[in-house]
């Protein structure tokens, strides 16, 4: 059993200058065989392993990660958490995640710094206004908190927004989800890793999957850079690289992987105490606890695994940011980066069994997977353990692209994709 983090352990370790904290997770050599192997050590993969061990008592399992845990999209997103999605299936999925977020720090005994500072989505034209009002009503029918704000209320909630009517994309109103907010992205991965490790899960870093061994329609194991691992169940949570892993098993997925960029500014004193998203102009901004503005941009429209996007995308986003927040005009940007997001044609995720027995995919989260991390892990673990989806992720099966029963969140999810 791991030592519990508490005020007492903090004081105790202060006496040794915080140099003797125990390791939060082991660094094991892979065993010959596991009951299940999770491919991808990001937040979703680690959460999947955690819930497999905790709720389904599958403890002889491993997470294999080609780099270091949380080093992919988990460490590259803008940490926004919300559940104000239009369709019932999405509302169920994302609000399930939000409810877990609300107790996650206590459950993991790890401070994920979940901050319910509210997320505001802006409307810039009449269609936006109608769409956002419709979504507010849909949210409330699904038991999700949502209010529509007029321009004055937007200004009151976030005074630094320029609500002048003569800007290129004037603010005509917005929606507010008060339960929404942000969390510390790395801490989510680390907290789940520590929790899973404590229950016996092997977290194997620097271990890249090179092949999937099949015997007919059954899984026999995976070929990795650390040797062959025998297993009957593989859960793939590889985000932008999902298609690459699928190809190893001879599967094709309805995904395209594209760069999504974000950037942070130099740290400043508190200036914005909420998250403001503007779908029409692709500008998302919040302020980290360190004081940096965290700014999200849109995706490039071409397939790329290069983890870098085009400059004109960032330029467009910063134009919008400056028009909406003239106060930021002299801020300097410190870092800019790209992550590779796997986007489904309907902009909804896939949490599903496949045509190959024992092979499961959790992918297609596109530009907004971070918010779903706990819920995604919980539901994917359920799907793997029972070989059947949970009712909350039944609609997110891979066969919806054949049946046509899509969950079309394109533009409906408060964010244009």
């Amino acid at each position: 059993m791991k030592k519990k983090y508490s005020i007492f352990s903090l004081i105790k370790n202060a006496f040794s200058y915080h140099e003797n904290w125990g390791k939060a997770w082991k660094d094991p050599v892979p065993k010959k065989e596991y009951e299940a192997v999770i491919v991808g050590g990001g937040g979703h993969g680690l959460a999947t392993a955690y819930y497999l061990a905790k709720k389904h008592n599958m403890r002889n399992i491993a997470v294999v990660e080609k780099g270091w845990i949380g080093g992919g999209n988990t460490g590259r997103n803008t940490t926004i958490i919300r559940s104000n999605y239009l369709w019932d299936a999405s509302a169920g999925l994302y609000d399930h995640a939000l409810k877990i977020w609300e107790g996650l720090s206590q459950e993991l005994n790890y401070n994920v710094m979940f901050s319910q500072r509210g997320v505001m989505n802006l409307a810039h034209n009449l269609q936006d206004v109608r769409d956002l009002k419709r979504r507010t009503h849909a949210n409330r029918l699904n038991g999700i908190d949502a209010v529509y704000l007029n321009t004055d209320e937007v200004k009151k909630f976030c005074p630094i927004i320029n609500t002048s009517p003569d800007i290129r994309y004037p603010v005509l109103g917005g929606t507010l989800q008060r339960r929404a907010g942000t969390a510390r992205h790395d801490a989510v991965a680390w907290g789940y890793a520590r929790g899973a490790d404590a229950m016996g899960v092997d977290i194997i870093q620097n271990c890249e999957v090179k092949g999937i061994k099949r015997n007919g329609d059954n899984i026999e194991g995976i070929e990795t850079t650390k040797g062959f691992i025998k297993t009957k169940k593989i859960g793939v949570v590889a985000a932008g690289h999902s298609s690459v892993i699928a190809d190893m098993a001879g599967l094709k997925l309805p995904l395209e992987s594209k760069p999504l960029q974000a950037l942070v500014s130099e740290p400043v004193k508190p200036v914005i105490d909420t998250v403001v998203m503007s779908n029409a102009v692709h500008a998302y901004v919040s302020q980290s606890d360190k004081g940096e503005l965290v700014i999200g941009a849109g995706t490039d429209d071409y397939v790329s695994y290069s983890q870098k996007g085009s400059h004109d995308i960032v330029e467009g986003t910063l134009n919008a940011i400056l028009e909406l927040y003239p106060i930021f005009s002299r801020m300097r940007m410190l870092r800019q980066w790209g992550g590779i997001v796997d986007i489904c044609p309907d902009a909804s995720p896939i949490i599903s069994k496949t045509s190959i027995k024992g092979l499961y995919f959790n992918c297609g989260w596109g530009t907004g997977g971070f918010k779903a991390t706990p819920g995604s892990g919980d539901l994917f673990a359920h799907t793997i353990a029972n070989d059947e989806p949970h009712k909350l992720n039944a609609a997110f099966n891979i066969n919806r692209f054949i049946s046509g029963d899509l969950v079309d969140e394109h533009g409906a999810a408060a964010v244009a994709h």
Binding site: S243, P254, V303, K308, S310, I402
Partner: protein, 91 residues
């Protein structure tokens, strides 16, 4: 960010173009005969290759013509540009 050599206009910034996705997906000759699986394959399933990919681009802010590009998606280096209807280069 990269430069694309439009077969009609020459080298231009990528931001002048729009990506049209995977190339050489053949439009079904008899759509009424297609099964749901075949429709899914045609409409949604993509190779999404990490490495050399054949794809369509259109010079939106230029000649507005469509053409094909062979590009390494792992580093965005363009290997070849060829016109619509032509076969991808063999090397």
């Amino acid at each position: 960010m990269f430069v694309i050599n439009c077969p009609y206009c020459g080298e231009r910034e990528q931001s002048e173009f729009k990506a049209g996705g995977e190339a050489h997906i053949v439009r079904p000759k008899q759509p009424t005969e297609l099964s749901d699986d075949e429709w899914a394959e045609y409409l949604f399933m993509r190779k999404n290759i990490k490495g050399l990919q054949f794809e369509r681009w259109v010079h939106t802010h230029g000649c507005r013509k469509w053409f094909n590009v062979a590009r390494d998606t792992s580093n965005d280096i363009i290997k070849a540009v060829y016109k619509m209807g032509e076969k991808p280069p063999s090397k």
